[in-house]
């Protein structure tokens, strides 16, 4: 069971002088259960690509297959698809509109036609999943802080009970603590609900922390695809695409330049520390 993007191209405003080719023959296959990070510079096509995955944009050329079925074939229920493959846009708090937090989180489940008991259950579950206090449920969303509002918006999406969750820069604009908590929550949803995660970002430290697979895009094409360790070992290439590598990978690269024999990429500070301590101990003895 998977999502398969087959040779998809997408052109904004085709046949006008303002036509822009945002995707150019993209091939990508995402198996359920993965934790995938989609990275790329501004205008690389990542936001366009994620909108292809749940049928918000129709490919100019190529096909998108979900569980083997073309999502643009006749009679395909794309509303049902969007519940299965949920998408949280960048700054999702901008989509909040109901007078209370409870109603806003309940919007999606209500649109699905669930009974009020089921809706209440979904809301309670979703609010707990984003670490939001139930006391806030009857407040107006516009009284909340930015970080709380972000979590309300994400709860509204989790309440759809999706199988795949696509997040477009979910940590943008959050403070370091908000970032850390959100990343932990995402890892927890993946673990506990077996949720497939597609994580769009250009913060490489976050990507290193969350991804099992990194897909790099540039100018509407997939240019790298592999485990984070392999991708981050190719720092110079990433720089050409306007991207960086995690600080720990930068550290490893710097040590290698000084003549240390260390692996090309470390993904977090613990790993980097281990490598350096081991090296220092070997050098000291």
């Amino acid at each position: 069971m998977s999502i398969v993007v087959e040779n998809v191209s997408y052109i904004y405003r085709p046949d006008t002088p303002w036509a822009v080719k945002a995707l150019d023959g993209v091939h990508l296959s995402i198996a359920y259960g993965q934790r995938l990070a989609l990275v790329g510079g501004t205008g690389s096509g990542k936001s366009t690509l994620i909108q292809q995955l749940n049928g918000l944009l129709r490919p100019t050329a190529g096909r998108v297959l979900v569980d083997g079925v073309d999502i643009w074939s006749k009679g395909y229920d794309r509303r049902a698809l969007r519940r299965k493959i949920a998408l949280a846009f960048q700054f999702p708090e901008q989509q909040v509109f109901e007078p209370t937090v409870r109603d806003d989180v309940a919007y999606g489940p209500r649109m699905m036609g669930l009974s009020e008991e089921e809706v209440a259950e979904r809301v309670a579950e979703a609010v707990a999943a984003v670490d939001l206090s139930p006391d806030l449920l009857d407040r107006s969303p516009f009284e909340l802080s930015g970080g709380q509002l972000r979590r309300v918006a994400l709860a509204g999406i989790l309440a759809l009970a999706p199988q795949v969750l696509i997040l477009d820069e979910p940590t943008a604009g959050l403070d370091p603590r908000g970032r850390r908590r959100l990343l932990e929550a995402i890892a927890r949803w993946h673990r506990e609900r077996n949720l497939t995660i597609v994580f769009v970002s250009h913060n490489m430290d976050e990507v290193a922390q969350i991804a099992q697979r990194v897909v790099v895009m540039d100018q509407g094409r997939v240019v790298m695809d592999g485990p984070p360790r392999e991708v981050f070992a190719r720092g110079e290439e990433l720089q050409r695409f306007g991207l960086g590598v995690p600080v720990t990978a930068q550290l490893m690269a710097a040590l290698r330049r000084c003549g240390w024999d260390v692996p090309p990429a470390a993904l977090d500070t613990d790993e980097a520390e281990e490598i350096i301590v081991a090296k220092a101990a070997a050098a000291g003895s």
Binding site: T16, R82, P92, Q95, M111, I157
Partner: protein, 271 residues
């Protein structure tokens, strides 16, 4: 989707028409529209169409774009034609077709065709103005043209500033509306289903966030303008100074000659 809508869309091109003083273009367009109402025969409209055609070619705007502006009023033009054909009668009118009580007269077809042509040329030419003139130039020109009215108490500068800001934010708001619409669709919203009331209610999830963000934007913009010491039009100097150039003189000469011919041809056979 929404962003394909063409509202006063500017088509940048290196053409003599683009380089003209916006005031020239605005006044010529205005006079042209007035002129259209003095034309009463096909020869006159042919001459007027030749003028618009010349401007399109000189402005290096693709025909496809100019003609596209007609799309929204196509139904109106057709309706005008049909309506005139059916209801116009008169002592000289000859019936060319008849279905029971419905009669089509030659006079009606003639009048309908003239009115349709007038509408089409009006829209084509005014959309050519916005295609060849950037919104900023347009409002600059308008402000200068309205300046004399300022002495009568009309706030010309404020009016122009309002227009500039409105024009500037139309694409932004459209883009935002599209983004919010997609975000709600991703949450299961359906904008196609149900009766009129249900559909109107389905718009709430778009309108509320759109208004919230529009007000926030307006607030930010006001603050940014004040931070840069904006305090209205009084004593403000300009970065772009409008100049009446030799090209404008030439454009005026051509226009006056053209308009004289159009008027002379268009009044033939009018008692």
């Amino acid at each position: 989707m929404i962003r394909d809508i063409l509202i006063g869309q500017y088509y940048p091109a290196p053409s003599p028409v683009h380089r003209l003083d916006p005031r020239t273009k605005i006044v010529v367009t205005f006079l042209y529209v007035v002129l259209l109402f003095f034309i009463h025969n096909f020869v006159g409209f042919a001459a007027a169409a030749a003028f618009t055609g010349t401007a399109v070619v000189a402005g290096r705007v693709p025909w496809r774009l100019v003609l596209r502006s007609l799309r929204p009023i196509l139904i109106l033009i057709l309706f005008t034609l049909v309506f005139h054909a059916l209801v116009t009668g008169g002592p000289d009118a000859r019936t060319v077709a008849r279905w029971g009580p419905v009669a089509v007269t030659d006079e009606g077809l003639y009048q309908g065709a003239l009115l349709g042509l007038r509408l089409a040329l009006l829209i084509l030419t005014s959309s050519l103005l916005t295609l060849t003139t950037s919104p900023v130039e347009l409002t600059d020109g308008l402000e200068r043209l309205l300046l004399p009215a300022g002495r009568l108490g009309l706030p010309a500068h404020e009016f122009a500033m309002m227009m500039t800001i409105a024009l500037r934010f139309i694409p932004t708001l459209l883009e935002e509306a599209e983004k919010i619409m997609k975000a709600q669709m991703a949450r299961g919203a359906d904008f196609q289903r149900g009766g009129p009331i249900q559909r109107a209610r389905a718009l709430m999830p778009i309108l509320v966030p759109l208004f919230v963000s529009a007000f926030r934007r307006a607030d930010d913009l006001a603050l940014a303008m004040e931070a840069r010491c904006y305090r209205g039009g009084e004593g403000r100097t300009r970065y772009r100074v409008l100049r009446f150039k030799r090209a404008d003189m030439a454009a005026w000469a051509v226009t006056v000659a053209f308009f004289a011919v159009i008027l002379w041809l268009g009044r033939q056979g009018v008692g």
